[in-house]
């Protein structure tokens, strides 16, 4: 994709990664691909804000070359040390070896540990400014949003915020702006991004948004380092972040399970029926058939979680265990849960599920329901009632 003018003198010079489906190793399924957004500011000083993932370095360099010779770059701002944004730094530094790299002290340390480059580095702190000519950059440290080195860059003259990973989405497209793409898909990818990456950092997200609001700086455009740029209504994504960070929930239940011979699945479906007949929205996922990234997105605004597993080796099955381990790390708040599953002789899965849920911070709202081998008619009726009673608690506590 060619360079795109964002504002007078400011260009997107990143890369679109259409085919990536697994991101961060296998921690995130990028079903719509992603983009690595680098921005070029042409002023008296030529400045590059962030770079792209290493394999896309030449695409970024070609895009820069469409605007200015890369050799003329004076500053490279590294808002975040992670490789999807810094990977092309060694390549671009070969073309402009005298350029100054700018970032937080932790960014300096991290970039050194990644690339061992001998680069001129200027450490900046919150409130530090860098005059480029007509424009001045202002830096705002944003530790743990989402790494210790993270930083936002703000350009007052354009009311443009460059918050790196915050407000981003894994969304590959030939369009660059929110008013050019399908709005529901964009919000879905934003929610996936928040749920799978930022959720455990919600307290910091709220604090940082309050801090920026108190600064009273006008923001007309938010240009993140992944996906689409927010220019039509930047407050839409800020407000969504506030809601997710406050762990605001809907009367909605997500059922996630793993089954061996289908008994636990039969229970899951009956429970779902009970929930739905109580008038509460329900989503049902077999952990082996659905992408985890999507399930977590559904859990982000759900009040209730019902988790099921057959018992295997006296414990829960391995893939639902992995799923719950991931959920634990996301530290949801203000949620209730319960568990179910089939067993052959001693059982054990539901107790372990409750243990995982408690560790994740989910309150156990009703006792587990189990069935030996395959659930009979009465047991399936009980599963239906189980769904109904949990839905009633969700309605009451929602």
């Amino acid at each position: 994709m060619s360079a795109v003018k964002i504002l007078e003198g400011i260009y997107w010079v990143g890369a679109v990664d259409w085919n990536i489906r697994n991101f961060h190793g296998h921690t995130y399924t990028t079903s719509r691909g992603t983009t690595y957004n680098a921005y070029l500011i042409v002023d008296e000083k030529i400045t590059l804000i962030d770079t792209v993932y290493g394999p896309f370095a030449q695409e970024m360099i070609e895009n820069i070359r469409q605007i200015v010779p890369p050799e003329k770059i004076d500053y490279i701002v590294a808002n975040h040390v992670e490789m999807d944004h810094s990977g092309a730094l060694p390549e671009i530094m070969k073309l402009c070896p005298k350029a100054k790299v700018i970032g937080t002290s932790k960014c300096k340390e991290g970039l050194y540990r990644y690339y061992y480059g001998d680069w001129d580095f200027q450490v900046v702190k919150t409130g530090d400014k860098l005059k480029l000519g007509r424009r001045t950059l202002t830096f705002l440290e944003a530790p743990m949003l989402h790494w210790p080195d993270s930083m936002f860059t703000y350009i007052a003259e354009d009311a443009l915020l460059l918050p790196n990973d915050a407000f981003g989405q894994h969304y590959a497209s030939s369009e660059r702006f929110d008013d050019e793409v399908d709005a529901p898909s964009l919000m879905e990818e934003s929610a996936k991004y928040y749920g799978n990456i930022l959720w455990p950092l919600s307290a910091l997200v709220l604090r940082k948004i309050e801090e920026v609001q108190k600064m009273g700086i006008p923001i007309k455009i938010i240009a993140p380092s992944h996906g689409i740029i927010w220019r039509k209504d930047p407050m839409k994504i800020v407000n969504a972040y506030v809601s997710w960070a406050k762990n605001e929930v809907k009367p909605k239940i997500v059922i996630v399970y793993e089954t061996m011979w289908g008994s636990t699945e039969k229970m899951a479906k009956k429970i779902a029926e009970g929930v739905a007949d109580s008038g509460v929205s329900v989503k049902l996922f077999d952990v082996n058939q659905t992408d985890r990234t999507t399930v977590i997105k559904e859990m982000l605004d759900a009040k209730g979680y019902i988790i099921g597993s057959s018992t295997h080796d006296n414990d829960l099955l391995i893939n639902i265990a992995g799923f719950l381990e991931f959920l634990k790390g996301l530290r949801p708040k203000n949620r209730i849960g319960c568990s179910f599953g089939s067993y052959g002789w001693a059982g054990g899965a539901t107790g372990s599920i409750e243990g995982y849920l408690k560790k994740a911070g989910v309150e156990i709202a009703q006792q587990a329901i189990v069935a030996r081998f395959a659930p009979d008619k009465d047991e399936l009726k009980k599963c239906y009632e189980y769904g109904k009673s949990f839905a009633d608690i969700v309605k009451k506590k929602g």
């Binding site: 932790k106 440290e141 530790p143 743990m144 210790p148 950092l201 307290a203 910091l204 911070g361």
Partner: protein
């Protein structure tokens, strides 16, 4: 009682508030936190904190 800041993520441990989510009662001095206590935000150990 002194407050301590996490040098990794800037979280501030305030003894007046404690860390109730992780079983630390209000009024617990930083020096009295158990050895296994970690930063509730970024998970690093006590030795990564500095007095402020």
């Amino acid at each position: 009682m002194d407050k301590y800041r996490c040098t990794v993520c800037d979280y501030v441990y305030d003894p007046e508030k404690g860390d109730p989510d992780n079983g630390i009662k209000p009024g617990t001095a930083f020096s009295d936190l158990p050895d296994g206590w970690v930063c509730p935000i970024c998970n690093v150990a006590k030795d990564m904190f500095e007095k402020i």
